[in-house]
């Protein structure tokens, strides 16, 4: 049976992890490769690296990081942040990324999805969607959730699927950072409307939130950052608990 995936997300700036980390066995807290290796050992099913640098050299630094992660890590990983062209994706895949995620660039120019799918195949193109509710309607937001658009989340998700994306990473800006649980109602609606996997993101604070998003939210995978970085929840404990709850999980 296909298992539900647990995905730690690492924020990267200039080739280094951003958020504070208190892993005792980490020699260099800012080294994404070392952190990735630890997560892989602890049972993460996949990793996401989100690059938030804004420097001239960001492309080269990111490609270099991807190369070193691929060298060491034996689970799949996705790279996102600032990707806006076929060339960007080509460099990352060539250096060993398994998937790339695109966000604002796809909203600005949806044909980018078609171009990437034609060149690299659906299986490595993840479309990340940040959305929040405005007057009860889920609206897509850009630039890390800062800039609202008039685009409806569900309409956009359908278009993304039609254009050939392999997966959707949905972050609820209403839930992100609250540690109050995932946006399960919207997630379940997404899963009923589209037939590609959906990764839930935003709101993880407790083990029960993961159980809920896999059952009520019908999510195929769940992504979280700070609760893993700060060891509030150990991946191993989380997965054992989910297994006990009857959720298909890889231990």
């Amino acid at each position: 049976m296909l298992t539900k995936r647990i995905i730690p997300c690492l924020d990267i700036k200039n080739g280094r992890t951003v958020k504070g980390i208190n892993f005792v066995d980490l020699r260099d807290a800012g080294d994404p490769v070392e952190l990735a290796e630890i997560y892989a050992r602890e049972g993460a099913d996949e990793l996401v690296f989100l690059d938030i640098s804004a420097t001239e050299e960001r492309r080269k630094t990111l490609a270099n990081l991807v190369y070193h992660v691929a060298e060491k890590v034996n689970i799949p990983f996705t790279v996102g942040g600032g990707i806006s062209s076929v060339e960007d994706v080509d460099i990352l895949l060539q250096n060993g990324a398994d998937k790339v995620s695109i966000n604002s660039s796809a909203v600005k120019r949806p044909e980018l999805i078609d171009e990437l799918v034609a060149k690299f195949g659906s299986q490595c193109i993840v479309v990340a969607i940040d959305a929040k509710q405005i007057d009860g309607i889920w609206k897509v937001h850009l630039v890390g959730g800062k800039v609202p658009t008039e685009i409806d989340l569900f309409e956009w998700a359908k278009e993304v699927e039609e254009r050939g994306a392999g997966e959707i990473l949905f972050t609820s800006m209403d839930h992100d950072g609250t540690k109050g649980g995932f946006a399960n109602e919207a997630l379940a609606k997404l899963s009923s409307l589209i037939n590609i996997p959906v990764i839930a993101s935003g709101g993880a604070g407790a083990i029960s939130h993961f159980t809920d998003t896999f059952t009520h939210g019908k999510a195929d995978a769940a992504l979280a950052a700070s609760i893993f970085h700060f060891k509030e929840i150990e991946i191993k404990d989380l997965k054992e608990e989910l297994k006990k709850e009857g959720i298909p999980i890889r231990l």
Binding site: M1, L2, T3, K4, R5, A40, D45, E46, Y67, A70, E71, K72, N74, I75, P76, L93, Q94, N95, G96, A97, D98, F120, G121, S122, Q123, C124, G166, E167, N195, I196, P197, D220, A221, R250
Partner: protein, 193 residues
């Protein structure tokens, strides 16, 4: 030992090279007929779309070379699918090594299948020391049905071939290079054939 990863412009071959390195071996990427023919082990990767990958193979003449190889050959993901008779994806004729036709998953499940699934009914020395129901990582929309050459099964909407073998030809639908320690052991088994 000479390990060659066939480099015909299809997919993420860097990860396979690194996985082999982690096992203490070195692999070279090559598209040269002679280098491929003289290797001790050949890995035939593939990510992307079947018909365009097959055109690339034809363009370099490798479609004629691969089925004639005598040493152990491992097709991974799309590589395995191209070793079958045909693929429904882009109505593609395959290399006809495995006597199976690759078809698309039904709409009753999410397509592509992405993630970790179990393998069972393990046969062949490719799975030495691999327990039944081990988890492996897959990303695919098309599958090879079960057949006489099936050496591992998996389930997604239906039972299908997670791995195939015919003589010196092996194929895995999953990515051993991305399947954690289980995948590394399977790769090691192949390299030690």
């Amino acid at each position: 030992m000479e390990i060659v990863i066939i480099n015909y412009g299809a997919g993420n071959i860097q990860s396979i090279k690194f996985a082999i390195q982690r096992l203490g071996y070195e692999a070279i990427l090559s598209e040269t007929v002679e280098e491929i023919q003289n290797a001790d082990k050949v890995i035939f990767p593939g990510v992307g779309e079947a018909s365009s990958a097959m055109s690339k193979l034809r363009l370099s003449g490798l479609d004629k070379i691969v089925p004639q190889l005598k040493q152990p050959v491992l097709g991974i993901c799309l590589g395995m699918q191209l070793m079958c008779n045909s693929s429904e994806e882009g109505n593609t004729k395959g290399l006809r090594i495995f006597d199976l036709d690759v078809v698309k998953f039904p709409k009753s499940v999410k397509v592509p299948q992405i993630g970790w699934n179990e393998i069972s009914s393990l046969k062949s020395d490719l799975f030495t020391a691999i327990p039944e129901k081990s988890h492996i990582y897959l990303v695919h929309s098309y599958y090879a049905p079960l057949g006489d050459e099936t050496i591992a099964e998996s389930e997604y909407a239906l039972s299908y071939s997670a791995a195939l073998q015919k003589d010196n030809f092996y194929g895995t639908q999953f990515h051993p290079e991305k399947s954690s320690v289980i995948g590394e052991r399977i790769l090691q088994n192949f390299l030690e054939l």
